[in-house]
């Protein structure tokens, strides 16, 4: 268990934010933490049916939502995009 800062940009937001999670958090939990902190503050709520994914900045494929931060092999302040799956 360790605090792990990640840089995240939630779809629609103007820039990256730093979100602190636990290294044992899953990607889905990272998404939830970021959404809790950004949506309805800088970004309008997404439609209820929207499915949110995360990907490493620059990557095209989404990360497996069940993967933990530690398992993903991230460096601290790894940049992640959180977006609505089309």
């Amino acid at each position: 268990m360790a605090d792990f800062p990640l840089a995240v940009n939630v779809q629609g937001d103007y820039g990256y934010k730093v979100v602190v999670v636990d290294s044992h958090c899953t990607i889905d939990e990272v998404i939830k933490t970021a959404v809790d902190q950004i949506v309805s503050v800088l970004v309008a709520p997404f439609p209820e049916e929207a499915v949110l994914r995360a990907r490493v900045h620059g990557a095209t494929r989404p990360l497996d939502g069940s993967l933990t931060v530690r398992e993903a092999g991230f460096i601290q302040m790894e940049a992640l995009q959180i977006y609505v799956e089309e």
Partner: protein, 503 residues
């Protein structure tokens, strides 16, 4: 006996490259302070300033300028301008004075280095005047700013800011340290004079002075004019230096200096003056947008100057053309929502009428950055003031010290560039910021952004620790300049709201 005309003695009088007898040349001009780039001294002696002035004329001219500026100030002291000024203009004054006064004063050090260590006697002469100019610019602006202290304690930051670790000040100080205060005399002359003064401040002061006059702030306008005329003179120090470098096989080095300095100063200009032009200047007095200004005066005029000197346009020119429509809009959102981290009272500048202007000047603004403002305004409208401030801090660029931003809203385009060194990730807001870092990682890698300092324990974990680290007492934390009474337009301000906002 008849006095000689200036042109009859000027060249001889400034020729002070005497042959030293008591110290060797390399001790008189040590390389770290006085890089000659291997160019022979007779080539440096060809420095010929476009605008020649004698000390006698300089003193007379500066005295006249001071008399003019101080007379206007004295005459208008009772006009009560500040008390009646809009929160827009108050925010602009607070931002200008607290970011510029000390920066000008510190510049005297860079000019003094050029005065002492330049290989060109002509430049030493010009830099002497530049040194005096910068002392005057620091003093006159602090003096004028302090007039407002009786109305608003925020102007204490005109002097205080440079001594703090506030994140905006760290950003500006890092940029100026990089181009002016940690470079040899030759490099500083090119980087400071070409990259900052010729590219930005000379022209900026013309525009800001005109805006001030339109807003009825004649004291500020006159003071700015008195400074701008100095800027115009010593902005020209860089040109002959670049010309000598290019003509003597050092184009590559000169090109790189201009590219580093210009980009570093663009980022500062974008965040500070861009916000000032497009959000803080009252709408009825706005003419040009930042984009208009940049396209005409910087991309156009400065670009032509660069090419006329034998340099190429900076490699990132197309990136710049995109940045002038994006970066400051994103940063304005951050400056507003993280307002408690600033010492002045930030303005949203996004009332319905202002949004129309922004959409006209930046087509697509409503669908992009406007979407974030929709959410902010919605929270204000429903009284959810706590939701107008994000819990998550912003990611800060490890070069410019400003937020790492992209395009918001419907055309969402995240931007991020990074470098990994020794298990540390360095983030950058742009390709040029990353490029500058990678030119000299050893020079830059030890610096930590304000956010890095939060996570490495430099700043304590309690909420107040962050503000105390930045030198901000509870009374020095920014709040909305209109007390949230802007979302439906300033015409609809209730008398109570306006009274609270204007003070």
């Amino acid at each position: 006996m008849a006095l000689l005309q200036m042109e009859e003695w000027y060249d001889l009088a400034r020729e002070t490259n005497w042959t030293p007898r008591y110290v060797p040349e390399d001790e008189l001009y040590p390389l770290p302070m006085s890089n000659d780039f291997g160019i022979p001294v007779e080539k440096w002696e060809s420095f010929d300033e476009p605008y020649k002035v004698t000390y006698r004329d300089y003193v007379q001219s500066q005295r006249d300028k001071d008399i003019g500026a101080y007379s206007v100030k004295a005459a208008l002291a009772r006009s009560d301008f500040f008390r009646k000024a809009s929160p827009h203009w108050k925010a602009l004054l607070a931002l200008h004075f607290s970011a510029v006064c000390w920066a000008e004063f510190h510049s005297a050090s860079a000019f003094a280095r050029m005065t002492r260590f330049s290989r060109s006697p002509g430049m030493r002469n010009m830099a002497t005047f530049g040194t005096l100019d910068e002392i005057r610019h620091g003093q006159i602006q602090i003096y004028f700013a302090y007039e407002f202290l009786k109305h608003d304690a925020v102007f204490d930051w005109c002097h205080k800011s440079s001594k703090t670790e506030n994140w905006i000040i760290i950003s500006l100080r890092h940029a100026l340290d990089d181009i002016a205060h940690t470079r040899d005399a030759t490099s500083a002359a090119i980087m400071l004079n070409m990259g900052l003064e010729q590219a930005f401040t000379n022209l900026q002061f013309v525009a800001l002075s005109a805006d001030a006059a339109k807003c009825g702030d004649h004291t500020f306008a006159t003071m700015l004019q008195s400074i701008q005329t100095d800027e115009a003179r010593h902005a020209q120090i860089g040109e002959p230096m670049v010309r000598i470098m290019v003509e003597n096989g050092r184009k590559k080095e000169a090109q790189q200096m201009v590219e580093i300095a210009f980009w570093r100063m663009w980022k500062q200009f974008s965040a500070l003056s861009g916000i000032g032009m497009d959000y803080y200047t009252p709408l009825e007095h706005r003419e040009s947008s930042l984009k208009d200004f940049m396209e005409e005066w910087v991309i156009g005029q400065f670009g032509r100057t660069v090419e006329a000197l034998g340099l190429d346009l900076p490699w990132y020119w197309d990136i710049l053309k995109h940045d002038i429509s994006t970066f400051h809009h994103a940063n304005q959102i951050g400056v507003y929502v993280y307002r408690a981290t600033e010492w002045w009272r930030p303005i949203a500048g996004t009332s319905p009428e202002e949004r129309e202007w922004l959409e006209e000047k930046y087509p697509g603004w409503n669908a992009t950055y406007g979407k974030c403002w929709d959410t902010i305004a919605d929270n204000i409208r429903h009284g959810n003031y706590d939701k107008t401030v994000p819990v998550a801090p912003p990611l800060i660029c490890n070069m410019c010290g400003l937020e790492v931003t992209g395009t918001a809203g419907e055309n969402w385009q995240p931007v991020n560039h990074h470098v990994d060194i020794d298990d540390r990730r360095y983030h950058f807001c742009s390709e040029p910021c990353k490029w500058i870092f990678e030119l000299e990682p050893e020079r830059y890698k030890g610096h930590k952004s304000i956010i890095d300092r939060v996570f490495d324990g430099t700043i304590g974990p309690e909420p107040d620790d962050f503000y105390e680290y930045m030198g901000q007492s509870p009374a020095e934390r920014g709040v909305d300049g209109y007390d949230y009474q802007w979302i439906d337009g300033y015409d609809d301000l209730s008398s109570d709201g306006l009274k609270r906002a204007v003070g």
